[in-house]
Symmetry: C2
Subunit: 348 residues, 2 copies
């Protein structure tokens, strides 16, 4: 349904960027992924010299009814406390974004409690999803509404001049919902893909696997219908981030994947609208065991391998800093002519 709205990458700008990179005084393609990401961003922006200075982390906050099954070490109230803390400049992502001069945009897309904090943008679909062990987490309409909110936020960020959007989330219980979605899409064994999230005990891990199993048995999500999967065993944070990825393709802005939950949202987006993969940028491989399988499905490889599992968009934020470094080098480095060196030749 979104496919025909997607923008395309401009091959001509990509070729120009590649030629510029090959003219720089270094072995061909020796900056590896940095060159790939430069070329792709030039394609997305239809120019070989995009201005990518202004960046924003969009953090989707939501609660998950499944938390009542004991799948998390901490209670659902932590979601809104941390969301408030994002606006108090004390969390990890605040310091990542402060350090790298990125902005931050906090969205309540379904927290259980209501906030009057004007820095938490209220796009609440409902006060936390229902417990997926007892029925669908939300209706299909609610999932679609959350996706559309993500898409609209990309439009809004674009109108504010942002050139690169990072995805982040806060939602107690969301490794459970993410693992459930991955399980439905791929059929991978829960023992293989279920992790301890923010720090579960062994007993907690069993509860988590049981909850996912029961949720799948009771809801029978149809793996060929991504909205069905998302609504039955997903979460509003995932749906909102899924909308960000689709919005990236619709409005022609690169959107950066963060860790496990964000990568599952990217996977859902790619199942709804395969074109949007071209607008996604990978960052880190989270410590969650499901991560490698999600990236396999996306046909991507994480470029940071720091065993982080904090969420909040910390990996996405870090890679946006590295993309800045890549463009700084692309714009300033000397060519072979400047360097008095003969250009390297290409061998296949």
């Amino acid at each position: 349904m979104f496919e025909q709205l997607c923008k395309t990458l401009d091959k001509d700008s990509m070729i120009k960027a590649k030629n510029r990179l090959d003219s720089l005084s270094k072995p061909l393609e020796s900056l590896g992924w940095l060159e790939h990401v430069i070329i792709r961003l030039c394609g997305i922006y239809h120019t070989d010299s995009p201005d990518i200075m202004k960046k924003v982390m969009v953090i989707m906050c939501a609660d998950n009814g499944v938390v009542e099954e004991g799948v998390s070490q901490v209670g659902q109230e932590v979601t809104s406390i941390v969301a408030e803390n994002f606006t108090r400049n004390i969390t990890a992502i605040n310091h990542f974004t402060n350090y790298m001069k990125q902005d931050i945009h906090i969205v309540d897309i379904g927290m259980s409690s209501d906030s009057e904090n004007l820095n938490i943008h209220n796009h609440k679909i409902m006060n936390g999803t229902c417990n997926m062990v007892k029925g669908p987490a939300m209706t299909k309409k609610q999932a679609l509404d959350a996706i559309n909110i993500g898409i609209d936020i990309v439009k809004e960020m674009k109108s504010k001049g942002y050139k690169l959007i990072g995805t982040g989330e806060m939602g107690i219980g969301n490794t459970t919902t993410s693992t459930a979605i991955l399980h439905v899409f791929t059929g991978y064994d829960l023992d293989l893909i279920t992790g301890k999230g923010a720090g579960l005990s062994g007993e907690g891990l069993e509860k988590k696997k049981n909850a996912i199993m029961k949720a799948c048995q009771i809801n029978l999500p149809d793996k060929n219908d991504p909205i069905d999967v998302l609504s039955k065993v997903g979460g509003l944070d995932i749906a909102g981030m899924c909308g960000l990825f689709i919005g990236g393709a619709i409005y022609g802005i690169p959107v950066v994947i963060d860790g496990f939950i964000s990568s599952v949202a990217a996977l859902v987006a790619s199942r709804i609208c395969p074109n949007c993969i071209e607008f996604m940028i990978q960052s880190h491989g989270s410590h969650e065991p499901g991560t490698k399988y999600v990236f396999e499905q996306l046909g991507m490889e994480p470029v940071l391998n720091m065993k982080m599992r904090l969420g909040e968009g910390t990996g996405a934020s870090m890679i946006m800093g590295i993309i800045d470094l890549a463009f700084y080098t692309y714009y300033h480095m000397g060519t072979f002519k400047d360097a008095n060196v003969e250009q390297y030749k290409k061998h296949e």
Copy 2:
């Protein structure tokens, strides 16, 4: 011979750093490798609040006689041209270090041509090594002299107030020497570990493998004597970087590994003086196929996976920027108390 000179890490400072990290409002250990590196640097500096602001990239430049075997796409003259270019602010590493406010220190430890450029520090052992296919690349004394130069440079950098040293190199032919060292130490098949370096043709790759094979046959390096291996089939850039790693342990300064050549130098250092591993910090996994085997030997895993193969210290420089971000977060992030959240519990 260096072992008894090595400093040790202060466990007390490491425990304090760990306690501070655990008090920050995030799931325990959820910053992954960033937490490990913070704790280790606190151990190295014997304080839980080190000042790591001042950083320098030390780039060892040297030529390799084996280049006459056709193991490189470009000629030996490129080493000194690029070394000059480091001082002209036009190379990739210049822009990495400019962007991240790191200094750069260029060392001629054995280039074939002589430079009068005062920004290229002259510590030349010889005008390029001998062709290892015809005999030892250098004498054991020359290898040891180069190691001692590396150690002395760490002392000098420490006296200038640098807190973190990155390693880089420029030396046409040095993936050949690095691969030869790895081959001798591990016995791994050359087909497995030999790569195309800066861009060899298939024919060039065969020449490279043949040269390594011949060099090993003619010199019979003793894998249990790392200085023997280094002098017979190594290079002066590798020896100098090996000295940097050993110097890190002697003077108590963390030294960052760059890509393939640098990691081989770290491996040689670890064989000479196992203690120095604690003072090494990994960065990226280069695209060179031998890289993963070197890191296996070192018992480390690269944390950046960007398929870079540029050398010059670009990966080390990048990770020094990320270490800055890690410490910025460590120093500024709020605690659980600040955050109104109950501290996460540890489960094994």
